[in-house]
Amino acid sequence: MLLDVGRFIRKSIRETFSMAVLVAAFFAALGAAAPSAGQGGAPAGAPQTQPQPTATPPAASATATQNVTPAQAGLNIVVLDPAHGGTDLGARGTGGIHESDIVLEFAAQVRTALEAQGFQVVQTRQGNANPSFDDRSAMANAQRGAIFVTLHIASTGTPGTARVYVMNDMAAGVDATGLIPWDRAQAPFVSLSRKLGDNVQALLAQRFKGSPAAVQTASVRQLRTTAAPAIAVEISSVTVEDRTQLDHMVPGIADAIARGAAAFRPSYVLPANPGERP
């Protein structure tokens, strides 16, 4: 038996050597493949950014609302913007909480509250897309008689508080054609935005102790190009250990936005012609 095996080895010794070389090569290849597979893991998320079907959903929903927009004048549309999305996660908490996910879920509840107040709601994103700032603004700028509300979760601030921000005062651009320049679309609306913001902030302050009493100003990129009364609502914060703490805030946030917007209705008198200053 042993002799048989020995003879077998003697015969196939070269094959065994080549096998060993092959095995070595195999392991070497495996070693080389494993790290590169590990590296490939990170960019695997990248393709998400590349297909940018972002233009399609806004366009689709924009046309959808245009079709259903009633002829009646006055404020009746709220463009609701769950910030970030796609590969842009926004603020990130230690507990794996992402701003982009939460604001999308919150938007659904805010939408329901707004609809209960008789508003039509246009959302800048439905799923995990990331439209550009300009795309989001464009959805509000395409509407007549709309207000714009962008939803955020902060990384800072006392947990359980919420703040409303409006754009700082901007000098209105003077365009030869009399149109509002895109770069400064918010300029003619700042005082209206502040009024809307104060409405919402007052309601938030009642509900969430520690929140400021009046609206705050900040140069928020999203608001600058929005030609409508526009506010940013920021909730504190992603640092909470338990997400339910944030979830408990949503009904209050939704109610404050909806009632604040409803109370703002009489203040917003639409200009006679589209594109005109309010």
Partner: protein, 237 residues
């Protein structure tokens, strides 16, 4: 009998060598990669040290500099802390000195407004009082994302400049030499921030840009024509 046995041992040793090599190879790769990264980092450090000489000159007269860090009220406000600093009378150097001190942070690290790893790469002051502050990428990547936190960072920079460098009228923030749309997803960096509407620029280069127009300068206008009138700045299709 002995010969085959010897060959058996030889084969086993060979296989063992293959297995060891298979295990060791990925470790070796990892080590090499780590070593490469380490070297890169130290190069980055060396570059930073080269581009960032210590700008504080002890022979300069000590002044009470006001540095704005978080007020600690957790409401997004910043408050002034007075620090005795030897500051140069030359505005650019002075601005670098106060900004570097601001970046170094307050005694209570909780009151920081800027990430500890952020650095000021360059600072320019144009004749019309526009300051251009170029920060390292860490300012954008390490700052907690949010309207409040980002506004606080810009507030602390703008107010510190306003309090200590009277020549600065407005400030534009660049990240690693690039114009950015936002700081960390919220705050608009494409425009210049008003620092001091009563600034006394070094040379009045016929700046028609009023104090209110400062904030509204578009990036293009800032780059091309810093003292542009608001109507010029607005000209964009």
């Amino acid at each position: 009998m002995i010969l085959p046995r010897w060959r058996w041992w030889f084969l086993v040793a060979l296989l063992l060598a293959v297995v060891i090599a298979a295990i060791y190879l990925p470790i070796l790769r990892r080590n090499i990669k780590q070593a490469a990264k380490l070297q890169q980092r130290s190069e980055e450090q060396a570059r930073r040290e080269l581009t960032q000489p210590t700008v504080i000159n002890p022979s300069d007269p000590k002044v009470k500099a006001k540095l704005f860090w978080a007020s600690g009220a957790d409401d997004g406000t910043v408050s002034a802390v007075t620090v005795d600093l030897p500051l140069s009378s030359e505005p650019v150097l002075r601005a670098k000195q106060v900004l570097n001190t601001l970046l170094a942070g307050p005694v209570d690290t909780e009151l920081r407004t800027l990430p500890p790893d952020a650095a000021l790469l360059a600072f320019y002051l144009l004749p019309d009082g526009t300051a251009i502050a170029d920060f390292s990428e860490a300012l954008a990547t390490s700052i907690p994302s949010g309207i409040q936190s980002e506004q606080m960072a810009v507030d602390s920079i703008a107010k510190t400049l306003a309090a200590n460098v009277p020549q600065v009228r407005q400030m534009k923030i660049l990240i690693h030499g690039q114009e950015m749309e936002t700081l960390a997803g919220h705050l608009d960096l494409s425009q210049a921030f008003v620092v001091n509407t009563n600034a006394s620029p070094r040379a009045d280069s016929g700046g028609t840009g009023s104090s209110t127009s400062a904030q509204q300068l578009t990036p293009a206008a800032t780059a091309v024509k810093l003292a542009a009138s608001p109507s010029d700045a607005a000209a964009r299709p």
